[in-house]
């Protein structure tokens, strides 16, 4: 069957901003015209690199990248105003300054050298066009800008309006965005600067909004603004890019780049044969059982990614309504065994939605230890009927996740619970989660630099409220967290949210697995989660 797929919108790479940046207002990343000129003169030295990817991208539409692989394929050729690095901090890209006085009006200056790869200057007209398209009700987009003034709760323009009142162009390279309420810089960048990628107004201005989704440009986006330019997509085989010689941060050193699509077993084989230089972060997963084999290969070096995503066990709180029962189910699971045996030690145990490497992770929370006796006692206290069968919904596609779910079910049976595992393909499971038609389920939810990216799943306003939770206390905390503008105060609020999760257990993390990153000896440059930000610096030696 199919490779593990995470069709969640992959926010991780598209989002967020450095906390430091919010403090010093654009000083974190500097590129000077001199530097650009130097590297342009050096031009492409040649060589091509190949990145192995297991999940094929489905679209090149920057307004609707509805899976991780698509976002990655798009970000090779389209920059956002700022990009997320592997420390979940922000670096400026198409913008060379993002400033705000009141946390409501954000003044953004575009990079002076930024031009589309056909030579046309990149201006606020492109920004305005793109935002208008995202906000147009007839355009499909999974980018929701509802926090910007002038847009409704769905992030769209109301009928009868044709422009966004929260957007103002000051000159060709400067514009402001005004939000409905004050927001912290991370929140703004997570939802806007790091998320939006742009469409060339000069190419698409005559395309009616109704036919933008199906415009030929989306299949063949040759005019873009990024490190590399699109050459072709050989379906199910590879995406071919060539260096964008006019890239505003300096022409890439490579002349070409490929994202090569293959199965996980083939990925390992091609790493061994040297056909692949590195694996894509999160969408080019190397199977755990091959870790040893890969680390013994002499033509590559391997390491572990600093970024990985917790695999969540979700409770439908309407059916599993007693927090004591949910906590008991968490305590009954021997998570150390999952990490030691299944992940061969390459993982960590946390309680909630965020991994320990996340800036908003509350390190003071001690995950529940494995305690089958305590769990049983807690269940008896809660008056649990041990004859009741718990239906446990597990998605197929990721072997480790399936096996871990089976181990977990065995742990539950060991304390006398009746568990029935039901396996579903991902779309079916998703449908069950969305409609709250399950009792206990497993799902992986990606996070971004802003914690609201994961905690927004737990409010009744979200269409994706998997747990069905509707606790005014939690909702208030999450809303307060979103609207707080002081970083430290936000951390404090999200600590309370995490504390709430620890006590009430609407969800707990089964494990956080470390992802292996491979780099061939002939490839020089940064790989892993930061790879796509640094492609233009990559070099290939023979």
């Amino acid at each position: 069957m199919r490779k593990h797929r995470k069709p969640f919108s992959a926010l991780l790479l598209t989002a967020a901003v450095a906390l430091t940046l919010s403090a010093c207002g654009g000083g974190g990343y500097t590129t000077t015209k001199e530097a650009s000129a130097d590297s342009s003169a050096a031009s492409s030295a040649g060589g091509t690199a190949v990145i192995g990817i297991v999940n094929p991208p489905t679209t090149f539409n920057p307004l609707n990248p509805n899976d991780t692989a698509s976002t990655q394929a798009i970000s090779v050729m389209n920059d956002s105003l700022s990009v997320l690095n592997d420390k979940l901090e922000f670096e400026l890209r198409l913008a060379d300054a993002i400033d705000t006085e009141d946390n409501r009006t954000f003044k953004i200056h575009l990079h002076d050298n930024a031009t589309w790869n056909d030579g046309t200057d990149f201006t606020t007209k492109d920004v305005e066009y793109t935002l208008n398209m995202i906000a147009n009700p007839s355009v499909t987009s999974n980018i929701n800008l509802s926090f910007i003034e002038g847009l409704n709760d769905s992030g769209k323009l109301d009928a009868g309006t044709s422009s966004i009142s929260g957007f103002k162009s000051l000159d060709d390279k400067t514009f402001t965005v005004t939000t409905k309420y004050p927001v912290e810089m991370t929140y703004f960048n997570d939802g806007f600067s790091g998320k939006v990628r742009f469409l060339p107004q000069h190419v698409l201005k005559d395309t009616p909004a109704e036919s933008l989704d199906t415009s030929p440009y989306m299949q063949n986006p040759t005019v873009t603004i990024g490190q590399f330019s699109f050459v072709k997509f050989a379906k199910d085989q590879y995406i071919q890019y060539k260096a964008n010689e006019s890239y505003y941060l300096g022409a890439p050193k490579l002349s070409g780049l490929y994202l090569k699509i293959m199965t996980a077993s083939n990925l390992v084989a091609q790493i061994q044969t040297g056909e692949v230089d590195t694996n894509m972060d999160r969408t080019g997963l190397i199977p755990v059982e091959d870790f040893e084999k890969v680390s013994n290969m002499t033509n590559v070096t391997s390491s572990f990614s600093p970024i990985s995503t917790p695999v969540s066990v979700m409770f439908n709180v309407q059916k599993m309504s007693d927090p004591k029962v949910r906590r008991a189910l968490e305590m009954a699971v021997n998570r150390q065994q999952i990490v030691d045996k299944l992940l061969k030690g390459n993982g960590e145990i946390v309680d909630g939605m965020l991994p320990s490497t996340h800036p908003f992770f509350d390190g003071s929370i001690e995950p529940y230890a494995y305690d089958p006796d305590g769990a049983k006692k807690l269940l008896e206290e809660a008056g649990w009927d041990f004859g009741q069968v718990i239906k446990f919904s597990v998605p197929v596609g990721n072997k480790v996740r399936e096996q871990a779910s089976e181990l977990m079910a065995a742990d539950w049976k060991a304390i006398g619970l009746q568990v029935e595992i039901q396996k579903f393909d991902f779309p079916t499971l998703l449908q069950k989660l969305v409609s709250n038609d399950y009792e206990v389920g497993v799902v992986t939810i990606p996070y971004t630099a802003d914690p609201s990216s994961v905690f927004n799943y737990f409010t009744p306003a979200s269409a994706m409220n998997f747990t069905g939770i509707d606790d005014p206390k939690l909702t208030a905390l999450i809303e307060k967290g979103a609207k707080e503008t002081d970083t430290e105060a936000r951390k404090e609020i999200y600590n309370q949210v995490q504390q709430y999760f620890h006590e009430n257990v609407p969800q707990f993390a089964m494990y956080v697995d470390k992802l292996m990153i491979v780099q061939s000896n002939t490839l020089k440059g940064k790989v892993g989660p930061d790879a796509l930000n640094n492609l233009y610096k990559w070099e290939k030696t023979e």
Binding site: T140, N142, D153, K156, D236, N266, E275
Partner: protein, 316 residues
């Protein structure tokens, strides 16, 4: 003959219509829908509803079907609900790879199966016979994915003589030979299973024919044994084989999903899997339609070939 073909083609129409109706119902009965795949906590229920409305997913099933059929009759297969590419383009790009690989596998399989089947029949109950039937058993029972991975390991990773997968080298201007090189391993994997099944058909059929009186007559007239076997016997022995080979064609055209995936062969099988995983209704329907046409077409072709091979059989 011509009226027969025309009549058969006319029967195709109601049959196809029936198939599309059943498929449409089954596809829509599967839980989940294309819009649910837009998963994002910031998606409001309103956007989801609006999107469903725009794609027509809220219409009654019968209305959706009639709309689909209506656009189909104008020659339009619609747009994919996941990539928004025209379905005709998505499918069109994948048909040739699948057809080429399928035909190559079929030819290769017959080149292996027919001589081995004859040999096995001629040497019935000898060590050669046991060896060949044993081989055919292995061919039938070895899983595609295992054979595929094993071949990749041996020929691509260890010996480095053939590529691990894909249809052409990166960049894709390696010419004809490059494509052939990429096709060798997947064709062998597909051919192994087909040949395994066909050897036994050829053998059994040949054994039946070899007992016939007319062969003794031929021999007594002094016809050389080579011609007795390969001309007089083989022609009759191949008749039932034509039928079963005809049945292989739709299987191959439907896309050898596992083989295509292991070798990243950009064919129909891969697309089928992707469109099912994203509940991409228009693409699934188009693929079903093609599979149905392939089955019906292959059946017709089999009947025609049958009458061509055996003058006693008259169609019409």
């Amino acid at each position: 003959m011509l009226t027969y073909i025309v009549r058969r083609l006319l029967i195709f129409v109601p049959v196809l219509l029936g198939i599309t109706i059943i498929n449409f119902i089954i596809v829509n009965m599967a839980p989940g829908n294309p819009v649910d795949m837009y998963i994002d906590p910031n998606m409001s229920p309103e956007i989801i509803e609006a999107k469903k409305e725009a794609l027509g997913l809220n219409d009654p099933l019968i209305v959706q079907y009639v709309k689909w059929l209506g656009t189909l009759l104008t020659g339009d297969l619609g747009y994919s609900m996941s990539s928004y590419a025209p379905v005709a383009q998505l499918v069109g790009e994948r048909i040739m790879p699948t057809v080429t690989l399928g035909l190559a596998a079929l030819v290769l399989a017959l080149l292996i199966a027919v001589p081995l089947g004859i040999l096995s029949a001629l040497k019935q109950n000898t060590k050669i016979d046991y060896f060949v039937t044993g081989l055919s058993f292995i061919g039938t029972s070895i899983p595609n994915f295992f054979l595929g991975l094993a071949l990749i390991y041996i020929f691509a990773v260890n010996l480095g003589v053939l590529p691990t997968g894909g249809m052409q080298q990166l960049g894709g201007d390696g010419g004809m030979w490059d494509r052939v090189r990429h096709m060798i391993l997947p064709a062998i994997v597909l051919a192994t299973a087909i040949a395994g099944r066909k050897v036994r058909y050829v053998r059994a059929s040949m054994l039946d024919v070899l007992k016939q009186d007319y062969l003794r007559t031929a021999r007594s007239k002094g016809v050389h044994e080579f011609w007795v076997t390969n001309k007089h016997a083989l022609r009759n022995a191949l008749l039932p084989v034509i039928t079963v080979v005809g049945l292989e064609i739709p299987i191959l055209l439907g896309g050898a999903i596992i083989t295509e995936q292991i070798f990243q062969w950009p064919g129909i099988g891969q697309l089928t899997l992707q469109s099912m995983m994203s509940r991409d209704y228009p693409t699934i329907m188009a693929l079903n339609l093609i599979a149905a046409i392939a089955v019906l077409g292959a059946n017709l072709l089999t009947d025609i070939l049958y009458s061509a091979a055996d003058p006693r059989i008259k169609v019409g």
